[in-house]
């Protein structure tokens, strides 16, 4: 897969990881961004033309100040689809990316083919409050994101050792920039009233969840199924919130079957 830069009409400049051929699939990443290695995208690219844009505030993408609220993010998602010249792509969104993808699908229900939501944010259950990712020490993040925190920490940091001050600083700066952006739609509670718009969602939808998700627990899957007109839920064992990175094969398998 290869990186390229695209410009949106609004004025953002976004980096997109692109590869494969076939029907187009857009993957929207979550608050943590794309990682150094994203093998599940390579897997998807075996069957589809995959586009994985980075939100402003992530990686080399710029225009952070142009997006301030949920509507800005959702329209930006469509601006990216336009800038890539795609028509009715499949859309996959993970975590915060799922929240945005669902919002996009409510705004323009006829502009996408199928929708995959992977451990999406955006709904809040009072009896199962989601841990506050904005109030965590750097070394605490992996504990809620991965079924295996030690392996997860290595994935998150690209193998850097956070007890080294320089490595910690680099990781901290990147994470602060990303989460500052994500906070605009996730802070203090990741609920921008998407629930009341989900009735508009027309696309056939797959809701995927890591069975061991400690950030947004699997109980949320049932709520999404109840809110979306045409959704099915699939839970994957041996994965936490970072399901696509934790079980790339199972993830690709589930998505490929659904999109086939």
């Amino acid at each position: 897969m290869k990186w390229r830069m695209i410009d949106t009409k609004k004025g953002t400049r976004c980096r997109v990881l692109e590869g494969g051929s076939g029907t187009p699939v857009v993957f929207f990443h979550g608050a943590g961004g794309l990682l150094v290695d994203n093998p599940f995208l390579d897997g998807l690219a075996q069957r589809h033309h995959v586009f994985a844009p980075e939100w402003p505030g992530y990686g080399d993408s710029t225009g952070d100040e142009l997006l301030e609220d949920m509507l800005d993010f959702a329209l930006h998602g469509w601006d990216l689809v336009d800038a890539l010249g795609l028509s009715r792509p499949h859309v996959i969104g993970h975590s915060m990316g799922g929240m945005i993808a669902a919002e996009m699908a409510c705004l323009a229900p006829r502009d996408l083919a199928r929708l995959v939501l992977v451990g999406p944010a955006g709904v809040w259950l009072e009896e199962r409050p989601i841990p506050d990712i904005f109030a965590m020490l750097p070394h605490e993040l992996a504990d809620v994101l991965f079924v295996d925190p030690a392996r997860g920490a290595a994935l998150l940091t690209g193998g850097a050792d956070l007890s080294d001050m320089e490595a910690l600083k680099d990781f901290y700066i990147v994470t602060q920039r990303r989460l500052a952006m994500a906070g605009k739609i996730l802070f203090p509670i990741p609920n921008r009233r998407l629930s009341k718009r989900l009735y508009r969602l027309a696309a056939e939808t797959l809701v995927l969840w890591g069975a061991a998700d400690r950030l947004i627990p699997p109980e949320y899957a049932a709520q999404w199924k109840a809110l979306i007109p045409n959704a099915r839920v699939q839970t994957i064992e041996g994965a936490g919130h970072m399901l696509p990175w934790e079980r790339p094969d199972a993830f690709v398998d589930a998505v490929a079957k659904f999109l086939a």
Binding site: E68, F134, A135, M136, L137, P138, H139, S163, M165, L168, K169, Y172, I173, T175, Q176, R177, R178, L179, A180, M181, A182, G183, K184, F187, P188, I189
Partner: protein, 421 residues
């Protein structure tokens, strides 16, 4: 020099093992540690101290805003200020301040500050902090990355509300009001003196200089650490072509005065250590949510507070360290005078916010320290800035014919038991 007697109003009953048992004194402190019946006594003790400070000759008495905080009992400093307005009549009432990004709509601050200025006869000093991330983001739910923008808008609305003599429409990004019409309006014209508590960002310095507001550096870590920061500020003042009046800047300092240095340790060590060890035990991520600081500031700043090792340091502080490293200024009147002179001249500040009550310090010790300071230290530091002797630009301008309500309560001579129950 102007001296303001400031009380943070800490909760004095945090348990000895607070640090071991709880991760933070702020935001998620167990509120079962608060006892409202004890709180009744605590409020009145602290309010009495502020009133006492006026009788000692302090220029100002001060309070501030914190939420869900074990060292601050003033989620609404305006309530404290209102009660002081009725029981004092000479000192400036310094509310440092209202965290305006958290008020919806911010016209509330324009109104309440105007009320305080009117009730006090023009004695309000109005502080407009961005607000700590603990208060503004975690307790009051404002989005970190948008907090500064919202602050700027709130400031604009408040200042326009005070200045305008006609109703106006305010079409803001965060606040839309069709009819802004501040009623009442403040006595002090064009507005009460404005103080901006800040850290070290250039943006804040420029903001103060754009409007000629006072820049207040409120740190608990003393003047040796504050020096480089205020040096940066004064460089900026010079670069902007402003005069170098020391009254442009204020600094907060913990001060403990006793008859001798040894006596100061004997009297105050326990309480200062309570403050540093328990009251400042804040879970680090609460202090730096993503987006609260600008990326430039994050890149510039140190990150040592995030390591596991760093979190051990405060708990092992000793009195000697506090004194030697000048986190606090403590000792005999002469010791305190010397060090404060160094502090005031070194930082070039015209306003000192003096913290005499610390942690769980009992009332008598607080008063003892304050009185010694007022009698033996303050007079000798008064005239450190002879060139700016008459510079009142950053101080209150009260009404000459203001009332003295504290002296006028009918029936005040009646004994408690004579009142019907």
């Amino acid at each position: 020099m102007k001296f303001t007697w400031f009380n943070l109003m800490p909760w004095p009953y945090l348990p000895d093992d607070f640090r071991e048992r709880h991760r933070s004194v702020w935001v998620d402190i167990p509120n079962t540690l608060y006892d409202p019946r004890k709180g009744h006594h605590v409020y009145h003790t602290y309010l009495d101290q502020l009133e006492y400070a006026e009788t000692l000759g302090f220029d100002g008495i001060g309070c501030n805003e914190h939420h869900q905080n074990g060292y601050g009992l003033m989620p609404s400093p305006n309530l404290i200020a209102a009660s002081l307005a009725r029981r004092t009549s000479r000192a400036a009432i310094c509310v440092i301040g209202n965290s305006i990004a958290g008020y919806n709509p911010p016209i509330r601050v324009a109104e309440e500050f105007a009320m305080l200025d009117v009730m006090s006869g023009g004695r309000l000093v109005a502080g407009f902090p961005v607000g700590t991330s603990m208060d503004t983001n975690f307790c009051y739910g404002q989005i970190p990355a948008l907090t500064r923008d919202k602050y700027r808008e709130a400031h604009e609305m408040i200042m326009k509300a005070w200045a305008s003599d006609e109703p106006f429409a305010f079409d803001g990004k965060y606040n839309q009001l069709r009819w802004v019409n501040c009623w009442p309006k403040p006595i002090q014209k064009p507005h009460p003196p404005i103080y901006i508590p800040g850290g070290g960002s250039i943006e804040t310095w420029d903001f103060c200089l754009d409007y000629d507001y006072n820049y207040s550096y409120l740190s608990f870590y003393g003047y040796l650490r504050g020096k480089s920061l205020l040096d940066g500020y004064w460089e900026r003042v010079a670069k902007r072509g402003k005069d170098d009046s020391p009254y442009r800047a204020a600094f907060a300092q913990i001060i403990c005065v006793a008859d001798s240095d040894a006596e100061a340790e004997r009297l105050y060590a326990e309480h200062c250590l309570y403050f540093f060890n328990r009251c400042l035990h804040v879970f680090p991520p609460f202090a730096d949510p993503p987006g609260y600081r600008t990326m430039a500031t994050v890149k510039y700043g140190a990150l040592s507070q995030l390591t596991r090792a760093r979190q051990k340091i405060l708990e092992n502080l000793t009195w000697k360290q506090l004194v030697d490293e000048r986190f606090i200024i403590a000792g005999s009147p002469e010791t305190v005078r010397q060090q404060l002179e160094e502090c005031i001249k070194g930082l070039r500040i015209g306003h000192l916010f003096c913290l005499f009550h610390n942690g769980n310090m009992p009332d008598w010790k607080t008063r003892h320290s304050s009185k010694l300071f007022a009698e033996k230290v303050m007079p000798r530091l008064r005239d450190l800035w002879p060139d700016y002797k008459h510079d009142e630009r950053w101080w209150i301008h009260p009404m000459d014919d203001r009332l003295r309500p504290e002296e006028q309560r009918p029936g005040a001579e009646k004994k408690h038991e004579e009142w019907p129950r």
